[in-house]
Every structure is written in structure tokens, then in C-alpha cells.
């Protein structure tokens, strides 16, 4: 095992809730990530849920999750002095990550002309909601609406359903992470800086190319409409044709009330028929006509009824076990309780218990999805507010102990010193 691949790479993370995960992934790849945050604690630290249900700047689960492995630099981000310090730090890093939502001072700091003139050698990852209207206000819900993802989800008799997981912000962070590594490669191999600007609306739109492909709209006027259990429907208009195509049902309830995702891999159609007969006695789908995949597509409601009957006769884990054994694509619809207890993840060592001094306890975190033969991603705790202020100012801002003491005295920066577990002022 050697050092992780981004060992020695330095990242200044000014990300907000929308982009913070990008730098966490960079930390997992070995980068040294300095998270600059307000001395009062950033928004992630103030959002719940909290450990034990008790609010506190060190108790926020979003902070513990998205800032794992970073260092914390606490600054008075509402002062120009703090942003001058960030300029000094920027000269010592490879990449700076911007927040989606910028204060006036942040806006000035990240201005393209200014950064390119002052720090031509540094990579900058910026983010914008709508490229033509950067001033618009956004949340994850608003972004999944703007990028076309929300329209594809839910039941026809209800409003479109927001996906779990803050998926718009997730996609933004994932793309920002890839763009950041590309900038790091560019800088390390060619000595040049540059700027990547991730579009949030575009990032969301990049996730609908299968469900709601832009060509289907252009060619056929087809819009994917949410159809609940039936998946998606495509009312196809144009060329004098009107047709209704749908993507097909995959969600079924089992005997024990739990759910599975069930798809029949076409080469295993025969295995499905055999299993169906074993469990339900039904041989209806064994007629010759059902061998034809096109016939099956046209008459898929009959197949779906048979799958529903099969699933209803067996407990979920048995449906999954036997389905997988037969080469069908049958998976449990997991909740987090299932995922926490999954023996497969357990055997893979997916969880790590990380000690959090501020909490006086371990927090179990999912480890990086990236496995390498060359390194093991280290999973370190999220930092306490201001935990690394002093060392970052000494190492990256090029300050002396005297300078740092003066900044602390003036209230431009804050350290952990003497700070008890931070409670949130109501």
C-alpha cells in the first residue's frame, strides 16, 4: 500500500451544502482539504438531524457526513480581512471550491477576472444554478424541478415526488469532484490553473438522458410522464401517430409486506416461467406466443400480474434469493435499516467506526466506494469548528505565531482553544 493518489494535493473548500460533498470525496482520495467556515459555524453544522436529537455545532449529521476528513479553518467570513487571508491560502493550494450560494464578499473573491489575474496557477471549481440567471434562489427541491428530474417521479394522481438524498446537490458535488481532479491533473502536469463552472440545472438534466431523452422530444414530442407503479409513460405524438408507451413495472410487494425490484433478464425468461409454475401453478405464459420478446412487451401487463402473484406468495428475502439464483434481476427495496444490517456490506468492511472527540463517542460512517489495490482510503472524522485554524494559518497562509495571535485577538479567526462542545444559539 502506498499513499492515496491525491496525497500532497491541497484543496481550499469554501463549499456550501450544495458542493461540500465534492471536497469530501477529494479528501477520501488523499487530498488535504481545508474547509474555511464562519466562526459561528456554517449552515451544514446548523442543519439537523443531530446526534441524539440535541442540536450542536459538532452534533450535526450533515456536518459529520459531508465534512469527514477535512480540516476546519474558522474565520470571520463577513470581514474583508478574512477573505484576504483566503487569498494568501489560495496561493498555496491546487484547487479552490466555491459555494453555490455566495455572499457579496464570496462573490467578489470568486469573480473570474480577479481570480484569474491574482491566482493564474490555481484551479477553481465554481457552481451556478441557472447559467443565465445566477441570481436565482435555489434549494435541492427547486433544482430537481429545474433540471427535469422531478417531473419523472411519482404517481399520476399526485404532484411529482422529490427524490430522497438531495440528488441535485449530489450530482453537482459529484461533477465538481470530477472537474476538480481534472484541474489538479492539469495543474500538476502542466503547471496551469483554470476554472470549471458546474451548472446545477445541467447536472440534474444529465441524469434524465434515459428516462426523458432530448431526442425523443425533438423527434416525437415524447415527454416521460410519471406513472407510479407502471414506471413512466410516453405519450408519443407527431407524424400523425398517437401511441402510449410505458417503461414497465418493477416494484412488487412480497408476502411479508416488504418490497422488491423485479426485472426479468430476457435470456432467463424460461427460468422465470419455471419458477412461476413451481410457486403459483400457472402455466399460462408458457404458450408459444410468449417466446416472442415483442409480444411480451406488448402484453406486459399480463406478465406484471404474474410477477405480482409470484411475489405475493413468498417472503421478500426468498424472492430475492431464488430470483438471483435463477439469473433474474431481483433486488430488495432496501431501507436504511436493511442497509445497516446487510451481511454483504459487512463482509466488505463498508462501515468504519470513527472516533469523534467532541462527541466522546464513535460515529459509524460508510467508507468510500472507491477501492484500490494501491491504497486504502483513510476515513477521518469531520473536524471540530476551528480545530485547524492555527496550523492552517501557519502552514498555508505563511503567517507567524505573532500574526496568528493578532488575528485571533482581532476576532478575524478563531481556534478550538478553550472551546467546549459548540451549542447552537437559538
Amino acid at each position: 500500500m502506498v499513499n492515496p493518489p491525491l496525497h500532497g494535493v491541497k484543496v481550499l473548500d469554501l463549499g456550501d451544502e450544495a458542493t461540500a460533498l465534492a471536497a469530501r470525496f477529494l479528501a477520501e482520495l488523499g487530498a488535504e482539504v481545508v474547509r474555511a467556515e464562519a466562526m459561528t459555524g456554517d449552515r451544514l453544522r446548523r442543519r439537523g438531524p443531530f446526534v441524539g436529537g440535541r442540536p450542536g455545532l459538532e452534533r450535526s449529521l450533515p456536518h459529520l457526513l459531508y465534512n469527514a476528513g477535512k480540516r476546519s479553518l474558522a474565520l470571520a467570513l463577513d470581514t474583508a480581512d478574512a477573505w484576504e487571508l483566503l487569498d494568501r491560502i489560495t496561493t498555496a493550494v491546487d484547487v479552490v471550491i466555491a459555494p453555490l450560494e455566495k455572499s457579496p464578499l464570496a462573490h467578489r473573491f470568486f469573480a473570474e477576472d480577479r481570480l484569474a489575474a491574482v491566482h493564474p496557477q490555481v484551479g477553481v471549481v465554481d457552481a451556478v444554478f441557472r447559467r443565465d440567471r445566477p441570481e436565482q434562489q435555489v434549494t435541492d427541491l427547486v433544482a430537481v424541478a429545474a433540471g427535469g428530474l422531478l417531473y419523472c417521479n411519482g404517481f399520476p394522481d399526485r404532484p411529482p415526488e422529490r427524490p430522497a438524498g438531495n440528488l441535485a446537490y449530489k450530482q453537482l458535488s459529484l461533477v465538481a469532484c470530477a472537474a476538480a481532479v481534472a484541474l489538479i491533473v492539469s495543474r500538476r502536469l502542466e503547471g496551469r490553473g483554470g476554472r470549471a463552472v458546474v451548472g446545477l440545472q445541467e447536472a440534474v438534466m444529465s441524469t434524465i438522458i434515459q428516462a426523458a431523452n432530448q431526442n425523443l422530444w425533438r423527434w416525437q414530442g415524447a415527454i416521460a410522464r410519471r406513472a407510479g407503479l407502471l414506471g413512466l409513460e410516453y405519450p408519443v405524438l407527431g407524424q400523425g401517430r398517437v401511441a402510449l408507451i410505458r417503461s414497465g413495472r418493477t416494484t412488487y410487494q412480497c408476502q411479508d409486506g416488504l418490497w422488491v425490484s423485479f426485472s426479468i433478464w430476457p435470456p432467463r425468461w424460461g427460468n422465470f416461467l419455471q419458477w412461476l409454475e413451481e410457486v403459483t401453478g400457472s402455466t399460462e405464459l408458457m404458450a408459444e406466443c410468449w417466446q416472442d420478446p415483442v409480444y411480451r412487451t406488448v402484453h406486459r401487463d399480463k406478465i406484471e400480474a404474474a410477477v405480482a402473484q409470484l411475489c405475493a406468495a413468498l417472503p421478500r428475502d426468498e424472492v430475492v434469493r431464488r430470483g438471483q439464483e435463477l439469473g433474474l434481476l431481483v433486488l430488495p427495496v432496501n431501507t436504511v435499516a436493511d442497509i445497516a444490517a446487510d451481511p454483504h456490506l459487512e463482509a466488505r468492511g463498508f462501515y468504519r467506526d470513527v472516533w469523534h472527540p467532541a462527541l466522546g463517542r464513535h460515529i459509524r460512517l460508510p467508507r468510500s466506494a472507491i477501492r484500490s489495490s494501491a491504497f486504502e482510503a483513510e476515513l477521518r472524522p469531520a473536524p471540530r469548528l476551528g480545530e485547524h485554524t492555527r496550523e492552517v494559518l501557519l502552514e498555508l497562509a505563511g503567517l507567524t505565531e505573532t500574526d496568528v495571535a493578532a488575528l485571533l485577538e482581532r476576532g478575524v479567526a478563531a481556534t478550538l482553544a478553550g472551546q467546549e462542545e459548540g451549542e447552537i444559539d437559538p
Binding site: R131, D132, V142, P159, A178, V185, R195, A211, A347
Partner: protein, 402 residues
């Protein structure tokens, strides 16, 4: 290739198929790498079969395939034949990265496992994206996109609690693996420049999918609390929802983040009485009246155009957007027009593909069409292996290449 693209010095031999894997190597291609897909005419990439124009259907006219494979080349080999595998063994030393998203064991069967590839090129980087990972009791479980969305908890925590957990209309995890995997491959390339060493990278789609959850899993692991399915509501913001507008299936998404935005919303709705109500000044108070508030907002939006009401809300500083569908995006959003790339394909079909969702030094990345099946077979064999006309003819006749 544009000279300043960061990956222009690298080559990728890409065995990925379907969507999740090809989207990884598409990012590398768009950033300048030479990506050569190894395809099969006998085991066609299913993604080639989706989304065709009504008038035309061919193995090269799938729109979804176009969107997953821009900027790549394609060679067509029958990997069940020893001679095809021999060609690959000879190609590998010319490549920096080999990628696949097969079930565990497939590449090894072809003699293309990591240890075998290392014999051919000691500093090779091998990246695999199996659904479950190559170790663990369920490593042989098979899934496509919907199944991974179910496995990773997204489906189980999405939607209204009184409805089945149908998950998303999109096979979402197919689109989230790519940036993370591309980042890890680029990082491995950088590391190789410094150490001279290659490596094997594996990302299990299941585990990558779990990282798409917000804090639901962490909340359970920390305090044993299982987050309920909340529909469109938020535990932190009220109101937070999707409200009907005038027209067929038109909606507006609105999120009120604080009391100032709440009061602004009330004034927009012509309800100063609500703005002044002391019991609605904080989130807890508004949550106690969430049904009532949502009904009032819905009654206000129901007669309005989704775009006009969005403008009103945004001008008051309230996050809002129409729930846009693909037609709105393609035809109604000037901001994304340079994100979409149109071209006429050799088959005569006019395609629109998406660029990467980021600009690079102020420019869009140069994106070219996806390859025809086997379009570059001859070119690649000539260029890298120095094969001549007769040898290529013989390989075609034997069915090794197509």
C-alpha cells in the same frame, strides 16, 4: 483534440457497456483521452437498442447510446474467439487504462484480469464497476439501474409514505457513478505520473449508490432512527412542496427557508393576516399547520402560469422553479442551449447530445458523436498493431473482427 484538454496524453481501452460504465469513460473522452470501446456484434450493447427515431432503426441510431459514448472510438471483436483475445493482449501495452462493468470474473475468463493485464503492461490502471463489488456473499447478484436504486435505499426513502416505494423514474445510479469513477481514474493517472505504479480500482455501484443518501443512513447508524418517507415535505423548511399551476400537469416547486421568505410569500399571496400570525413565525409553528398552509399555497398557484409565479417568487427572493419537463428544457431554456450539441450522424439522423455539465476555462468541451459499431476496428488494428490488408481480411473472414 483541443490542445489543452488535460487527458490528451492518455488512452483507455473500454469494455464497459450499458450506461453506468460508458458514462465514466465518456467523461475521460470529453476531457481529451482517446477512448476505444471494445464491442461485440454477437452480444450487442443493449443501450444501442434504446430510443430510435420512428423512421429509422439501426444499431447506430440509438439516442441513449449517443449520449453515453460521445468522443469515443469503437472496435468490434468476438471475444469468444481466442484470436480476438490475442488482439486485445497486443493492444493493451498501448493503453493506460482498461475499464469494465461486467459481473466479477468475466475479464479474468478472457485473460484480462488485473494480474494478467499487469503482465502485458506493468503500470496499467484497471477500473471495474461491478454492481455488488468482487467480494462479499452477494457478489454474484445481478441488477440493472432500477435494482441499484432499490438496493441503495433511494427508492425506500423516496415518495409518499402511503404509496409503494417505486423509486425514481430514472435509473438514477447509472448517472451518479460516472463523475466519481472518472475522478478516481484521473487521480490514479496522476499518481502513476509520480510513482510509476498502476493500480486496480473497483467501485461497487451499490456502495456508490449508498453515498447518494443524505443523512438517512447515518441517522439510523447513530441513533437507530429510521427516517420516514416524507413526500415533498422537508423536516427543516415549511412550506416545501410542489404545487399545481394552470395547464396540463404543470407544477411549481417552492421552498421557504426562513421567516422573511414566509412573510414575503404571504404578502405575494395577498395574505398579510398570515404573515402577521404569531404561531406561523417559525418552522415548528408552520409544521403544525402544514396541511392548511399547503392548501392555501396550492389555491394561490393553481390559476397561475408556472413560469410567471416562479418569477414572482424569485423576485421576492424565494427559491422556486417550474417543474420543467424535457420539452421545456430543450425548447424553452436559452441558458442550456450551448450545453446541448446537435449534429447530423452518418446515418442521416440529426441527434442532440448533452455536453458535460461544466465549462472548462470558460469553454464547452469539444464533443463529437458516438462511434458506429466497429467503426474504427481496421484503423485501430492498423495503427497500433501494424496489421495489413490481408491480415485484416483474414480476421473478418474468420469472424474475429467485424
Amino acid at each position: 483534440m483541443t490542445p489543452d484538454l488535460p487527458l490528451r496524453r492518455y488512452r483507455v481501452l473500454d469494455f464497459c457497456w450499458q450506461a453506468a460504465g460508458p458514462l465514466v469513460t465518456e467523461i475521460l473522452a470529453n476531457l481529451g483521452a482517446e477512448v476505444i470501446r471494445v464491442e461485440s456484434t454477437t452480444r450487442i450493447d443493449q443501450v444501442r437498442l434504446y430510443h430510435h427515431p420512428l423512421e429509422r432503426f439501426s444499431i447506430d441510431t440509438g439516442a441513449f447510446f449517443q449520449d453515453c459514448n460521445t468522443g469515443k472510438k469503437s472496435i468490434s471483436l468476438d471475444m469468444s474467439k481466442a484470436k480476438a483475445r490475442e488482439l486485445v493482449y497486443r493492444l493493451v501495452p498501448h493503453f493506460d487504462v482498461v475499464t469494465d462493468n461486467f459481473s466479477p470474473g468475466q475479464m479474468e475468463k478472457w485473460g484480462l484480469g488485473y494480474e494478467q493485464l499487469r503482465q502485458l503492461r506493468p503500470d496499467i490502471i484497471v477500473a471495474s464497476f461491478p454492481v455488488m463489488g468482487s467480494v462479499g456473499p452477494h457478489r454474484h447478484w445481478r441488477a440493472v439501474g432500477n435494482g441499484v436504486v432499490a438496493l441503495c435505499g433511494l427508492a425506500g426513502h423516496t415518495g409518499f409514505a402511503d404509496r409503494p416505494p417505486v423509486g425514481l423514474g430514472t435509473v438514477h445510479t447509472d448517472f451518479t457513478l460516472a463523475p466519481l469513477a472518472a475522478a478516481s481514474i484521473m487521480a490514479a493517472l496522476l499518481q502513476r505520473e509520480q510513482t510509476g505504479q498502476g493500480q486496480r480500482i473497483e467501485i461497487a455501484q451499490y456502495e456508490a449508490g449508498i453515498h447518494l443518501l443524505d443523512t438517512e443512513l447515518l441517522e439510523y447508524l447513530t441513533d437507530g432512527q429510521e427516517a420516514p418517507r416524507r413526500g415533498n415535505r422537508s423536516p427543516y423548511l415549511v412550506p416545501h412542496g410542489v404545487f399545481p399551476c394552470a395547464g396540463d400537469d404543470r407544477w411549481v416547486a417552492i421552498a421557504v427557508r426562513n421567516v422573511l421568505e414566509w412573510q414575503a410569500l404571504c404578502l405575494l399571496m395577498g395574505r398579510p393576516d398570515l404573515a402577521a400570525r404569531p404561531d406561523l413565525q417559525d418552522v415548528e409553528g408552520r409544521r403544525d399547520h402544514e396541511d392548511e398552509i399547503e392548501a392555501i399555497v396550492a389555491a394561490w398557484t393553481a390559476t397561475q402560469d408556472a413560469w410567471q409565479v416562479t418569477e414572482l417568487l424569485q423576485s421576492a427572493g424565494i427559491p422556486a422553479s417550474p417543474v420543467e419537463h424535457i420539452g421545456d428544457l430543450v425548447d424553452g431554456e436559452p441558458a442550456i442551449q450551448d450545453f446541448l450539441v446537435s449534429f447530423v450522424h452518418p446515418t442521416g439522423v440529426e441527434f442532440i447530445v448533452q455536453n458535460q455539465p461544466f465549462t472548462w476555462h470558460g469553454q464547452r468541451l469539444p464533443v463529437s458523436r458516438a462511434p458506429l459499431l466497429g467503426e474504427h476496428t481496421e484503423q485501430v488494428l492498423r495503427h497500433f498493431l501494424g496489421l495489413g490488408e490481408e491480415e485484416i481480411q483474414a480476421l473478418v473472414i474468420e469472424g474475429v473482427i467485424a
